[in-house]
Amino acid sequence: MAAVLEGGAHRAHKELVKTVQLEGQVLLKIIQHCSEALPQLVTGQLLGLDVGQQLEVTDCFAFPTAVADDDVEAESAGANYQLEMMRCLREVNVDNNTVGWYQSANMGTFQTVELIETFINYHENIKKCVCIIYDPQRSARGNLGLKAIRLKESFIELSKEQKLTLKGFQEVKLSWRDIFVELPIKVRNSNLVQALVADLMPAPSATLADVDRLNLSVAPFLERNIQSLVECVDDIVQEQQKVSVYHKSVARQQQLYAAWLQKRRQENTQRLQDNLEALPEEDPTLFKPIPEPSMLDNYLVTNQIATYCDQINIAASEAIQKLFLMEGIQKAGL
């Protein structure tokens, strides 16, 4: 019986979310909310259904930006808002199932400790939740910066057991790359909406965005990216210092312990000669084990660095393409 139960749980375990399907209106709502709220970063809730390995998001609503006056008050206000909104939406037959949340990110940076904490909070109640990250700067440059991510299962278990140390990571063979898993996004529309969108098909005339895309200057974007990159590298150096301090203190503790042990042994031989009882060779109160620092920050910053590097690479290669095109046009004597 126990084996069957475990088998069942294991199968449910395997049903991880593999793809995310958005409805058109969710896409547009997220875009509208995040772009209008610039430069502030905002969040919102996703509602939908999970169907096997695919998570269908059918609706979403925005969260009011929390005023950081009183934490307790803000939290209860936020929870109230959520309850009220869900109740109203239920009356009009909207899917009442929370499947995750979305947030806007600045320059594509979303790897923070708060994100992980929110994920873990969600995970307590909903096994399959996803976070959609929207990058408004990327979209302003012409391509939709939308990503769906979730945490890797093994990472969630590891953090539940509080074993976010290097040894813990090595045991489950996770590297910093494996914390987040990116999911492919599909967009689906009901037939009625497809008819609407087909009708709405905008006239194929060029827009201001097209003109902006031909802009050859990529320097400001690269500058900002590199600045953030430099900050990240500073953070990593700090983290490394923490780790080195830990190792040094462990080494020093070992030394002290060895010296103390020797002294104890000498005392013991002395006492044996005097026919007294030997003192114990261990004293737990003197040498408490030093806790190993968590590797979480280290890994998150590394993830951040990887994101920035990717962005820089893409932007730089775009710029080079455009520059070479420009050169070709100039050479042709236009």
Partner: protein
């Protein structure tokens, strides 16, 4: 002299709708309760000069029969308060209904909404796809009064347009081309066009701009050959635009080009270096060892 019917002067109000609103309305229509024929709800937006921009909407449950109509006012108020918390600058600008015609009860609902906002706009979204066309119409109401007595409320149609922000256009384009899953029941893996096909979007942009330039040059040709009488304003505008094209001496251009390319390459090199460094540290396990 017969009493004249007083018609207040109609201000030339026009309505601009964001596509989000239309998609939400369609979605609400698909989700409506079984016995209902149509869905009504509130429109939120901003009013700038004589243009009403509709940015958001939400559905309000209602019940209508041939004699009376009931609207769930509490729901309407609650949702409005909730929306105010997120977007305080948006206000109620009117209401929408699906279906193809105006109903008798619309006048009553319009009355209710005129208490909420000064010039409520009534938007009719034709979800029945009459005439094989998806039509969106907007009306504003005015009172027909005979002297002092109010006769009726008349709905006057006003121009209604869909506007896209540039970013929304990207979203709508994506929905149209390739990311669509044609049948909701199919489980086959549709080709997942990635969101970041940079080169393709660049090519598409250039195509559109090239079209524009071709049209402009066609126009100029036809003016020159005398087929079309030219307008001096357009001619001046074109001349100004062409004057903006910079003429760079060859050496200048080479210098600029080389500098930019070198910058981009250096940055790529730096980022690759950093990545290699991190990867190496991870492999050697030195990410967790003290820096010697």
């Amino acid at each position: 002299m017969a009493a004249t019917v007083l018609l207040p002067s109609s201000s030339n109000v026009s309505v601009k709708v964001h596509p989000v609103v239309l998609l939400s309305i369609c979605d609400a229509y698909v989700r409506r309760k079984e016995h209902q024929d149509r869905v009504i709800g509130t429109l939120l937006g901003v009013v700038v000069d004589n243009v009403i921009e509709v940015k958001n909407c939400y559905v309000v449950p209602h019940n209508e029969s041939s004699e009376q109509v009931m609207v769930d006012v509490i729901h309407h108020k609650t949702m409005f308060d909730l929306h105010q918390k997120v977007a305080p600058h948006e206000s109620i600008v009117g209401w929408f209904a699906t279906g193809s015609d105006l109903y008798n009860s619309d006048a009553l609902i319009q009355d209710f909404y005129s208490k909420e906002s000064t010039h409520p706009v009534h938007m009719v979204v034709d979800t029945t796809l009459k005439d094989n066309k998806f039509s969106v119409q907007a009306y504003t109401s005015r009172m027909l009064a005979l002297g002092d007595k109010v006769l009726a409320t008349e709905f006057v149609e006003i121009p209604c347009d869909t506007i896209f922000g540039d970013i929304e256009r990207v979203g709508v384009d994506l929905m149209l081309t390739g990311l669509n899953d044609p049948s909701p029941e199919s489980k086959k893996e549709t080709a997942n066009k990635s969101f970041s096909d940079e080169a393709e979007t660049l090519a598409a942009s250039m195509g559109r701009l090239a079209d524009l330039v071709a049209r402009a040059s066609e126009y100029v040709d036809s003016v020159v050959s005398g087929r079309v009488s030219g307008e001096p304003a357009i001619g001046r505008y074109l001349a100004d635009t062409l004057a903006l094209v910079p003429h760079l001496a060859r050496s200048d251009f080479e210098r600029l080009f080389n500098e930019s390319v070198q910058d981009a390459m250096m940055v790529t090199f730096l980022s690759d270096l950093l990545r290699a460094h991190v990867a190496l540290a991870e492999r050697l396990g030195t990410a967790a060892l003290p820096i010697v």
